[in-house]
Amino acid sequence: MTSRGPAFLRDRPPSLPRRAGIGRGRFILLMLLPATALLVGLTIIPFLVSLGFSFTNYSLVTPDETAGIWLRNYRQLVASEEFWSALRVTLIFTTCAVAIQLGLGVAIAVLLHHETRAVPALRLLYLLPLAITPVAAVFTFRMMFNPTLGVFNFLLKEVGLPAQDWLGTPGMALFSILIVDTWQWTPFMLLIAIGGLAALDEEPLEAAAMDGAGPWQVFRHHTLPMLFPYLVVAVVFRAIDAFKTFDIIFVLTGGGPGIATRTLNLLAYKQGIEFLSLGYAAAIAIVMLIVTIVASQALLRKVGLFKPKAIL
């Protein structure tokens, strides 16, 4: 048996692939093939096709007139006021959504971390929003936000507060969308934070408490830094997802009032599905991809620079 290759392969009994009459390299390739085929078929090829479309004027209405126009879609995009408005709305929404959900998720996780009898039931309750079909839930929220017949304004009136135009003004519409997104996605943050807390080594925390640190100090200077790597993963996943949010905004406001809640994803939908300008829509999608990659890489690099001492 050759001594080359990773240890875990060297240590494996060589009999299985040899008995099958297949070389180890071919065996590995064979095992990788299904995943690779899926990756190529479902991710790489569609991405390359989209990238190709973004350099054309491809429209479903006039497919026979498709021609290469190089960077014109991108130039048109950055010159358009709609794009910058949509990018601004997307960034505000993503930042606010992730920040609120991170804070709430961690806070609830810490509360649930101390065992009580009600914890299993509470965990289930908190995770329910993740199990509900998003569009059905958002339609329910749409009815609840109805200024005339909705339950939110009914409750406000019951306590003597004025009715709100939840979805009809630019500021309130974004705020209402954040409420729904937070309801739906805080459980995701909670899930990761709970997992992280359960995996933490309790010794440093107990030692800090014995040294006289209060609960807040233990949390601020020990628990949070130790939890940090888990939270970064949660933030990256959630931020990528929030950046692409579509269903909540589409159902609640359709991007309005005006274009106050029109995000990049909604803009791409409008161009691609309503206006059938697939080349232009593909350019928007590629820009979204670039923004996502750059932002997530920047975040991950920053985490690498500020690794918490507890982990080191």
């Binding site: 479903l60 209405v61 006039t62 497919p63 709609e82 936000f145 109805n146 200024p147 005339t148 017949l149 304004n153 009715a163 709100q164 135009d165 939840w166 979805l167 009809g168 003004t169 630019p170 519409a173 589409f250 609640l252 406001t253 359709g254 991007g255 309005g256 009032p257 005006g258 274009i259 409008k270 599905i273 309503e274 206006f275 059938l276």
Partner: protein, 464 residues
């Protein structure tokens, strides 16, 4: 003398006499009642009565027996009315029909991709953007099939019975017929007569009177008026279009094809619409689509409404509405001495240009829009595109005689050219999106009407 109940111009092979009509309408009334309870309109006796009316056509109905066709349709009153009738078609022709309705959002998103990819199905589909579909080549011309005596009998079909506006939807500007009109809708006003009487108000005849009445009827619990104002092309654009047309404006000028958003009439129409909703609309009207408007009106949370005449069926349905028996329907008020030009709409259906079952699809289209089938659909409350169906007592009972009368008056007053210039434009989605955003901005007071329309026009500049 035998009096014909249907217009005589078509020369039906089997004249429909008063006696025959009485018998048929009795069946229709019964069928309507049955269908109202969820029982089928495909009952044996209904088929037996209508079979001679279909077979009166000099059409070889069984020519494509054994074929299966797919119908692309969204959840809509036409689909609801047509689905129980499909077994009749299968029995008449031997052609199986698959129809699975989709939500409008799903339908509008999926169909362009399907058709754009050259898919052969659906064979027949409801056309959501006619100009776009024709420019893309997604619709098969019907003229050649109409001239084929094996599958077409123009005398029996009696196109003259179809509303003029409906026929104008079917024929494109190149003179080619691409679709058949399947519904007729007109912008119609709904008044909660109890509230109007309570305030001592008459039904408004002018826009100024409408504004005054809506403001007078507004209270903490009830909106004076409810109209669509959501910033999407399928929401605010249609009712606001009627206001614009009635103020002498245009979204797209039918004569020149140019964007008409900055014309004085258009700005005046948008300003009138926006002021009305700001002064008398419900809180949050900036996010109102037709569903919110209908819900508010049926819940008694709005005194006046103005939308598609098709709402009458829901408003008169005691399972959905709390204002049954309290509603009067009326014409769109006129503005400053100008004629009222309510907006209108005919849903149309056409044949997929790539369909491999074009003749079978044509048979279905002819059957679905024929006089007998339209009468059956009308008995279920569908506002079809045929005058004869609107004249049946079963339709009057189901839709409401006064609602039908108001809808017809509005349909007659509508200016199809103004509508078609915008809604049938190949870039209609872009145009209506920009217009709706402008209307929404004016309603929510983000911008004044003139600025909102100027910005919308600027957005379209270079796109058309």
């Amino acid at each position: 003398m035998t009096r014909l109940l249907f217009p005589p111009s078509g020369g039906l092979h089997l004249p429909i006499t008063r006696r025959g009509m009485l018998r048929a309408s009795a069946i229709l009334a019964g069928a309507g009642l049955l269908s109202a309870k969820g029982a089928p309109l495909w009952a044996q006796d209904v088929y037996a009565e209508f079979e001679p009316l279909w077979k009166a056509a000099a059409i070889d109905w069984t020519r494509h027996s054994g074929t299966t066709i797919q119908i692309g349709a969204l959840s809509h009153p036409w689909t609801d009315a047509m689905m129980p009738l499909l077994p009749h078609f299968t029995r008449l022709t031997g052609i199986e029909v698959n129809l699975t309705p989709q939500s409008e959002t799903e339908y509008v998103a999926e169909m362009p991709v399907k058709l754009g990819a050259g898919n052969a199905t659906p064979d027949v589909y409801m056309v959501w953007a006619l100009g776009q579909a024709i420019e893309a080549g997604w619709l098969a011309p019907l003229d050649e099939m109409e001239a084929n005596p094996d599958i077409s009998d123009p005398a029996w079909y009696d196109a003259a019975d179809v509303f003029n506006s409906g026929r104008s939807f079917e024929k494109w500007s190149d003179g080619v017929t691409y679709t058949r009109a399947i519904t007729a809708e007109a912008q119609t006003m709904f008044y909660n007569q109890t509230m109007l009487d309570g305030a001592g108000l008459a039904i408004p005849a002018t826009m100024d009177e409408l504004h005054a009445a809506a403001v007078a009827l507004k209270s903490d619990d009830v909106a004076g008026i409810v109209l669509r104002a959501k910033a999407t092309g399928d929401a605010a654009a249609w009712p606001a279009g009627g206001w614009v047309f009635s103020h002498g404006g245009a979204i797209i000028d039918p004569a020149s094809g140019a964007v008409g958003l900055t014309s004085a009439g258009t700005v005046a129409g948008v300003d009138s619409y926006a002021r009305l909703l700001r002064d008398a609309g419900p809180v949050g009207v900036g996010n109102y689509h037709w569903m919110e408007c209908l819900n508010d009106f049926m819940a008694g949370a709005a005194a006046i409404g103005g939308d598609s005449s098709n709402f009458a069926s829901d408003i008169a349905n005691p399972e959905k509405s709390t204002v049954v028996g309290q509603v009067s329907y009326g014409a769109l008020p006129s503005a400053a001495g100008l004629p009222a030009k309510p907006n209108m709409w005919h849903w149309t259906a056409g044949i997929n240009a790539n369909s491999t079952n074009k003749e079978a699809a044509y048979l279905f289209l002819s059957w679905a829009t024929s006089k007998p089938t339209s009468a059956l659909a009308a008995a279920a409350g569908l506002a079809t595109s045929r005058a004869s169906a609107w004249g049946t007592s079963a339709f009057g009972d189901r839709f409401g005689a006064q609602a039908a009368s108001a809808a017809l008056a509005n349909l007659t007053a509508a200016d199809g050219d103004l509508f078609k210039a915008a809604w049938f434009h190949p870039k209609a989605p872009q145009i209506l999106d920009a217009f709706a955003i402008g209307v929404n901005e004016a309603v929510t007071a983000t911008k004044d009407a003139a600025t909102a329309m100027a910005d919308a026009a600027a957005k379209l500049d270079g796109q058309l």
